[in-house]
């Protein structure tokens, strides 16, 4: 096989190996390529930053292990900001795998001395998809026991909270349906809560129309959103480190497309 046709038919395994290399290496030793902050992230940060210590925020954790790498970092970054500010967090989930991630977030801060039930609580999974979101939105009391089996009424953090309007903010961390569309349709529209979104990259186009219309006040988009948030917060962490890998991965893919096309043209010319 000559050079041109070899370029046209690069073995897919070479592509895979290169992709592994350019993404794994910068994760181990980051290059720290600069990253700009999108206006949406700043807006999101400002809304969260304006909260007062003692306020309570609701996290709706609507993702599963498979999509988590793109969404969970957003939740972790926002959680860090809130804990830092002394704002309380209550989590709920309309995906059955969601509560696991709530536990992951909270256990970390429990080790740091924060107290479950006071600074945060995990209300677990509520089955029923769209109708569940509607019912929970209108009456938080539909959940009687939290994920750890405590009666919800016994948690100090839940004092004075009847419906979702009693939360200072509702943030949906979402990788699909049910999620932000259902929150907008069933709760935001009728109760007028302040709703923010942390969306997986793939879901951004679906969420964008709600941000444009103001029904969702601000959105963090995927792993990159998390990285930007860490930067704005002044605590660059795991997500920022992954951005280099992200960029290099893109370049490799584009490079292969370009190489394939050049070879295709050279071949046609012959």
């Amino acid at each position: 096989m000559d050079f041109v046709s070899r370029l046209q038919n690069v073995d897919r395994r070479i592509i895979y190996i290169l992709l592994i290399l350019v993404t794994a290496v910068p994760m181990i030793s980051p290059l720290n390529l600069p990253l700009s902050i999108s206006p949406g992230t700043t807006e999101f940060f400002n809304i969260v930053d304006a909260l007062e210590p003692g306020d309570t925020v609701l996290f709706s954790l609507d993702y599963a292990p498979s999509g988590a790498p793109d969404v969970h970092p957003i939740a972790a970054a926002v959680m860090e900001h809130l804990m830092d500010k002394g704002v309380n967090v209550v989590s709920v989930s309309f995906w059955d795998a969601g509560p696991m991630f709530g536990e992951q977030l909270m256990r970390h801060y429990e080790e740091l001395g924060y107290e479950y039930g006071v600074h945060f609580a995990n209300l677990g999974f509520v089955p029923g998809q769209e109708t569940a979101i509607k019912r929970f939105g209108e009456n938080v009391g539909t959940v009687s026991r939290d994920f750890r089996g405590n009666p919800v009424s016994s948690l100090p953090i839940m004092e004075g909270i009847k419906d979702t309007r009693d939360f200072a903010l509702v943030i949906d961390f979402v990788a699909g349906n049910p999620g932000i569309q259902e929150w907008v349709r069933q709760v935001q529209g009728s109760l007028g809560i302040t709703l923010l979104a942390g969306s997986s990259t793939v879901n951004v186009p679906q969420t964008m129309p709600f941000v444009d219309s103001g029904q969702v006040k601000a959105m963090l988009a995927g792993l990159r959103g998390a990285a930007e948030y860490e930067l704005v917060m002044g605590k660059p962490g795991a997500s920022v480190a992954k951005m280099d890998a992200q960029s290099l991965g893109h370049i490799v893919i584009i490079l292969f497309i370009v190489v394939g096309n050049i070879a295709f043209f050279l071949d046609k010319k012959r």
Binding site: S66, A97, M243, S247, G249, I253, I257, G260, N261
Partner: protein
């Protein structure tokens, strides 16, 4: 009787569920009862599907077909997860609950995540394979894809600060227009297909004549 009853069931159930969205009154109650039953019927369907798995792999195992070892692994995994999961769910102690959670977190969770992550490789090889300027149409697709990729990558804006703007425009205008129209067409097609099912004009799934 054998033929009519299923058709009547489909029609009545479908009509109630459809119109309950638009009329207040008893229809809504019936519809929520009917859709509520679905959880139960579907749960039985899961059992049916598992029987199929069991029969296929049980046969492979008993006849010691090539790969019987894998069939054994499948059946063992099925039984272990079913038994421990059921024990944990129907009020197991702390130990069973932890085991159940660990099994999920370290087998189903990571294997699923790895399958999903495999998409990163396949997106790359599919792009390399498919995005060639074979025709005018393919060229348009290629250019749109590359502009979006560069515009979306963190490094794109370092190369030229207009790349993200172009990408945004492509997503907002031509992409939305295309998506909208495909959605409208698909909605009309979906409606017609469901209507034919509802009216019994489509019934391959119910078997043919007796």
């Amino acid at each position: 009787m054998r033929r009519e009853v299923p058709l009547i069931i489909t029609f009545v159930v479908g009509v109630i569920v459809l119109f309950a969205n638009m009329f207040e009154g008893p229809l809504q109650a019936w519809s929520s009862e009917l859709t509520g039953w679905l959880i139960i019927v579907s749960a039985f369907a899961v059992g049916l599907a598992s029987v199929n798995l069991f029969r296929i792999h049980g046969t492979a195992l008993m006849r010691m077909r090539p790969g019987w070892f894998n069939s054994l692994a499948l059946i063992v995994a099925l039984i272990v997860f079913a038994v421990i999961g059921t024990m944990a769910r129907l009020g197991g102690d702390e130990k069973i609950n932890n085991l159940n959670q660990n099994l999920y977190d370290s087998i189903i969770g990571p294997l699923g995540a790895a399958m999903f992550a495999m998409l990163a490789f396949y997106v790359a090889s599919a792009a390399y394979r498919a995005f060639r300027m074979r025709s005018a149409e393919a060229t348009v697709m290629l250019i749109a894809a590359i502009l979006t990729m560069i515009g979306k990558a963190p490094i794109g804006e370092l190369i030229w600060n207009k790349f993200p703007v172009i990408a945004e425009w492509l997503i907002d205008i031509p992409n939305t227009a295309g998506q909208r129209a495909i959605m409208i067409g698909a909605a009309i097609g979906a409606f017609a297909t469901s209507l034919r099912i509802l009216l019994g004009l489509e019934r391959g799934h119910l078997g043919g004549a007796e």
